[in-house]
Assembly symmetry: C2
DNA sequence: TGCGTTTTCTACACGGCGTTCAGATTTCAT
DNA sequence: ATGAAATCTGAACGCCGTGTAGAAAACGCA
């Protein structure tokens, strides 16, 4: 029996030697797992292979993660967080007023990250790990909400122009998930439910082409998907009442 | 050593008893594999499990498929074909002149099939099977081209109205894959390269929301993705210069 | 300092997987 | 009827995740 919550409180200024080693080993496990995923796809994440690379036995990893699926869940969360951070970083230098350019930069940053980290993309949005079953509530609810909130922020900034274009159908707050609604109403109080629907559509719209490209379905069709994707982004910006940059 | 091309010519009116048995067994292997995929996800496709269900040994399947990946490739092709046939069937009763309604029906048929066959969708568009490596040229080039041609046909029918909306960027035939270009120029000679780019964008646009929904990323955000998806389809129809039905 | 507890790790076992191979059996063409 | 080809079994190999028992190491406290 191993108490996996050994690092219970970190009130101690000098964390015990054990805690330091444990943190380091945990970090190494995750790093090697991500290396394997990057090299041979997310399915290459195997406890035995990781342990082999670390000079350990497979069983030893169970001192750090109760099961392989927990390791995968942790990885999904970290990778998803890396994605949202990459997008946020790309968005940071763009002034909040320039809603159109922010959408463009967001879309391009998302695609750039996905193409640079295909294994991570598949880990987040696909089913690539053999028998992996995500915990209830999804594998990475927090990063997913954060990602969704970023898109919603883009819509909120553009809402004065976008609102007239979204008169087709009416939405209620009750149409959406409680956690998302709470975050949106807190961060963007002026945004109506229709704005959330638009954000989800924009998320899906970018996800589609990027997903097709990452999984190799676009390569046989078009030699360079970049202009097609760029055209889609510009069209999306135009379709919500903004004038695209350039 | 087994000659896997035993059914070389079917000029014989009465196919030999062997050939009949072989065809039946092949059919059964694929059917059981698809059952397993539908039940436990595409990753549940295992030669041992299939053989167990058939009262055989795993090795026996190697008389019908040289390797597991070949079986998977065959399944992907058949499932992809089923998808294009489902979409074509839904499209059949809609008159060719009603370009807007055809796009709407196409989009809804695609989503309906994906939701009814999530395992098939993941098989086609995802990475779900453990160590599967697709053959060069993709796992299912023919059905993929057919699917792509269907979308292009929708664009071709709408091109008189759509053309003015697609003036942003110019495309050349050389931007696209040779096989796709050949099929398009043969079937829709009046369609310029920009029409193919628009078709790819429409493909991606629908793929995005459907993919997010199938993989469960939309469920936590919106209780019923149908209206969001419908709004996206209507917006897409509008964005190419058509007036949406209803 | 030394002792008892906790954590970490090894060694082994179990059942699952794809794949290969020798050999038995069945079917077919001649 | 005979020889060739196709089909299938059963055992093996090495991979996998997951447990369990027990050894070894590090720790906290007296």
């Amino acid at each position: 029996m191993c108490k996996l919550s050994s690092v219970r409180d970190q009130r101690q200024q000098p964390p015990t030697r054990r805690a330091r080693l444990r943190a380091e080993t945990t970090r190494e496990i995750k790093a090697i797992a991500l290396d394997h995923a990057a090299a041979g796809g997310p399915d290459a994440i195997s406890l035995r292979a990781i342990a082999r690379d670390m000079g350990m036995t497979a069983g030893a990893i169970y001192s750090y993660f109760p099961t392989r699926d927990d390791l995968v869940t942790t990885l999904i969360n970290e990778v998803y967080e890396a994605l949202t951070e990459a997008v946020s970083a790309a968005l940071a230098p763009v002034p909040p007023e320039d809603a159109a350019r922010r959408i463009l930069v967001w879309g391009e940053a998302f695609r750039a990250w996905a193409l640079a980290n295909p294994a991570g993309f598949k880990l987040i949005y696909g089913d690539a790990v053999s028998g992996y079953r995500a915990p209830e509530g999804g594998a990475a609810p927090e990063p997913e909400h954060r990602a969704c909130t970023i898109v919603t922020g883009l819509v909120a900034a553009a809402w004065p122009e976008a609102a007239p274009t979204q008169s087709g159908r009416t939405y209620e707050w009750s149409d959406f998930g409680a956690a998302l609604v709470a975050a949106v109403r807190r961060e963007y109080p002026e945004l109506p439910p229709a704005g959330v629907a638009l954000a989800l559509r924009m998320w899906g719209r970018t996800h589609g082409l990027v997903s097709l490209e990452v999984y190799g379905h676009l390569g046989a069709m078009v030699h360079d998907p970049a202009p097609v994707y760029r055209a889609e982004l510009l069209d999306m910006i135009r379709s919500i009442g903004l004038t695209p940059p350039e």
